[in-house]
Amino acid sequence: MPRILALALIAMSTLPAPALADWSVSAAAQARYDDNVGNAHDYGDQVSDEIFGATLSALQTLSLSDAYSLSAGGDLSGEWFDHLNGLRNAALDGVLSLKRKWGLGAFAPWGRASLSVGRSEFDDSYRDFTAYRAALAAGKRVDPRLNLWVEYSFDHNAAAAGETVEPGISADAFTANGHRIAASMEYAASAKIFLSLTAFARRGDVVSTVQSDEAIYPRARAIEEDPALGEDAYAFRVIGNTYGIRAGVGYAVTEHSLLGLAYLRARTYAQGADYMKSVAEINWSYRY
């Protein structure tokens, strides 16, 4: 974690500050309850926890022309798990995106391509990974109340392999790929109250941590010890399809800050290791 902080300081000190670029600095904090942190199939394996997180973001947007803008920036974030100490982590992400608007104004359709790279480091360092993500998004504000957008993304998490658990099966459980599509809408119920809804589907590797499950062995692409979730816990990487929905309500406390409540419900079908996950969240964000 100290290495992440050092990297963040170096990155911030080297950021250019052209006068014509639009800086967007934001801060966010959240508290959430996850009823199935380890993505376990059996109720007996499921571990819940309260998680407190904070994120600092800085993004610099340069308008290249009437239609194109280029953004570059980074996030520094941290998560503090109330009980699962090994999952406490810090992350540093950098993002580069190119946005195009087809037309002038708030109601012109837009598209965006973005690439991001991030490093997450955990108290239990065997979970550390480098995250790569490429995304394509498009959207349109229909009117001042209704905003719609869709996104496709590919994510790849690269982690180091652990000690072999099962001969012939990879011990690199935390290296994972996935394709995700999402459709989102936001509706302004009033000038201060926003309702949001995102439906998503993801196909790819999922990591399910259980105490011992003979049934999952033959389906596992990788198995690795996962003591952050228990002494006899093993992380299994399997292929799964996840379908979920996230609903939220936000209240604009000021012109720059938003207080929100959100609830996520997702179901993953993973060749018999299916699992459900519910996350309730309260969040606050400030953008200047």
């Binding site: 967007s24 009437d66 608007k101 837009w110 959207g139 905003n147 989102s184």
Partner: protein
């Protein structure tokens, strides 16, 4: 006899002149604009159109200014006389791209900083809605008035039309959130030469939802 007639005509001319002067004497009209709940309405444009079509509506057309400060148009509502020009200086240290799709004036100022943008001539009366192509929440209004007799309410809801020639006027009120047509607010009133004339308008406002500056979905739409 001829001398008496000449004196009479002279007296009549003097009397008519005095009457004419009195009718053109500058008067003041203070208008209080409230909503249906009795709350003062800010940023309401009050227009006075002379009932007498012979009254000249000619006036100077100075160059006015609408600034951009902290990614907002300042002022939010600007009233000008038709034929005036407006400069759009940018006091932010980032670039803005001001545009309008309004029938009264369509224009676009390509990305700029400082005071680089050319002034814009508003040669047609009507409401011009301003936006910034980079910052979607930025919205402002230019009201291009067909009469030189206009004023805008402040936070107290009052507008003072000074230097108004005495006479009859049709008064109209417009505000960005006005529910209904501006014509529906029209009332005829007589403005006396002496003192400050006072009038009160009650207008119905509709709930308007601006494009939010910060929202839960903003990460997808901005930047």
């Amino acid at each position: 006899m001829q001398r008496h007639i000449a004196l009479l005509i002279a007296a009549l001319l003097i009397a008519l002149g005095a009457f004419h002067s009195a009718s053109l004497a500058a008067a003041q009209l203070q208008v209080m604009v409230k909503d249906r709940n009795g709350k003062p309405v800010a940023d309401a444009v009050v227009l006075a159109l002379p009932a007498d079509p012979k009254v000249s509506l000619r006036a100077q057309t100075p160059t006015e200014s609408v600034d951009q400060v902290d990614k907002q148009f300042v002022p939010y509502v600007k009233v000008i006389f038709v034929g005036s020009t407006i400069r759009f200086p940018n006091s932010d240290n980032i670039r803005h791209q001001v545009y309008s799709f309004s029938p009264a004036k369509k224009f676009e100022l390509p990305l700029y900083t400082g005071a680089q943008a050319q002034p814009v001539l508003f040669e047609k009366a009507g409401v011009v809605v301003l936006g910034c192509n980079i910052h979607d929440w930025m919205i402002g209004y230019v009201y291009v008035s067909e009469t030189p007799f206009f004023a805008k309410t402040g936070t107290a809801g009052t507008a003072l039309l000074a230097d108004l020639p005495a006479g009859d006027y049709v008064i109209r009120v417009w505000q960005p959130s006005l529910d209904g047509s501006e014509q529906s607010t029209a009332q005829r009133i007589a403005v006396a030469a002496d003192g400050t004339n006072r009038a009160e308008w009650a207008i119905k406002l509709k709930a308007t939802i601006p494009v939010p500056r910060v929202s839960s979905g903003s990460s997808a739409a901005y930047p």
